[in-house]
């Protein structure tokens, strides 16, 4: 005999799945943000071989499906290193790298948007590269990049749903389990969709809030 009705446990299952999705998103987005920005800085200073290699690698990541990357990491790497990867590790690696690729291109555009003349001024005044990044490039590039980054974040949150196919117990996987038991796909996937929507909407609102705050405190740029 099957329990096809919804129970309190189902709510917990979904909440747990949502937690995993959000946690995976937050962790991989933060890591991707750091890695992608670092790569953009390397690129900006035209570090000879490294810059070109990073650019090529990240371009590959940006232009191939995340699902394929996920399979490559989850099935491909263990075959190479003869060591299994847990689904969560594979998901974390893949999503971080994928996020880094998109952040990289946004950050490169942000860095390029900072006027060359002030960069020259800072160099002439004796700033080291690190000081130049910290005081001149990063604050202005971040202001340019914030809008695109909020868009990226919302997208990457949805992309986390792919990790359910390699067995990560995220929100989509929870929906899957619930669906198999209750056999009420319409109700289940509506609920799952609504939860993703709520999370994405919250993220967008948070992003807009930051953008507004930044703009309110932002210096009047432009000439």
């Amino acid at each position: 005999m099957r329990h096809t009705g919804f129970t309190v446990h189902d709510g917990l299952l979904l909440a747990q799945g949502l937690g995993v999705s959000l946690g995976l998103f937050a962790g991989t987005f933060a890591l991707g943000l750091v890695l992608g920005s670092a790569a953009a800085v390397v690129r900006h200073f035209r570090v000879p071989a490294l810059g070109a290699a990073l650019h090529a690698g990240l371009e590959l990541l940006r232009n191939s499906p995340v699902l394929v990357q996920l399979f490559l990491v989850f099935f491909g790497i263990p075959a190479l290193i003869h060591q299994p990867l847990t689904p969560v590790v594979a998901a974390g690696v893949t999503l971080s790298a994928n996020t880094a690729a998109f952040v990289y291109f946004i950050a490169v555009a942000g860095l390029d948007a900072v006027g060359r003349d002030q960069v020259e001024a800072a160099r002439v005044y004796g700033f080291s590269r690190a000081q130049l990044v910290r005081h001149i490039l990063a604050p202005q590039a971040a202001a340019f990049a914030l809008g695109p980054l909020v868009g990226l974040a919302v997208n990457q949150l949805q992309v986390t749903s792919l990790v359910s196919v390699i067995g990560v117990m995220d929100l989509t996987k929870a929906g899957d389990i619930l669906n198999l038991r209750t056999l009420r796909p319409f109700a289940v996937w509506t609920m799952v969709g609504a939860l993703y929507f709520a999370a994405a909407k919250g993220l967008t609102l948070l992003g807009h809030h930051w953008e507004r705050r930044l703009r309110a405190h932002a210096p009047p740029l432009g000439f």
């Binding site: 800072a122 202001a143 740029l221 000439f223």
Partner: protein, 248 residues
Amino acid sequence: MIAVEGVVKRFGTQTVLDGVSLTVAPGEVVTILGSSGSGKSTLIRCINGLERLDGGRITVDGLDVANPRQLAQARRLSATVFQLFNLYPHMTVLRNVTLAPEVVLKRPEPEVAAEARALLASVGLADKADAYPAQLSGGQRQRVGICRALAMNPRYLLLDEVTSALDPEMTAEVLAILGRLASQGTTMLFVTHEVEFARRISTRIVFLDQGRLIVDLPTADFFDPARGLAHPRINQFLSKMTPVGERP
């Protein structure tokens, strides 16, 4: 002393500086004159290390600007004021002035800020310390540019056409400040089209013509019809620059 020795700079096949030699000793105000495209800005950019040399040598108090370590030190000795101000748009006027002394010279913030406020007051910008560059007029921005340079306590001030983006009234504001600095003994290497002003404040005037430094004379000699003015290129240049009534 800034010593420029036989400097060659090429862009592609074009030779922009062709064996330029020049010295600026402490206390001097040396003006570089020359028509558009003669290489004046390029020379300044070679001295402050923004361009790589294709030949010759530049030293600032003995520090070779072609050597990255020595360039970093040389850059603490000189400060540049730019034609288009090149202020940091995301920072207040005060921060524009205090940033390099704090970050590069590692001087304590309160001391630097107090000095910066005094500098701003000395150029009539005491009430603009918290404004952003975009909220200032061109003349005000350039005065901030000058304060930013002076805040480094530089031994040498490099100025590249610092008034050519300004209207006559703002030009007068900025020149008045530079005149005061010159009379206080500030060492300057000064690119300008303001010939009359240069004549008043310079100890020496050099003339660049198509990348060659063809004349280097004390100011009085430069305007002597038998010396500097005897040179056809210079005569031609000055006849275009100076109102006829003011010519010697």
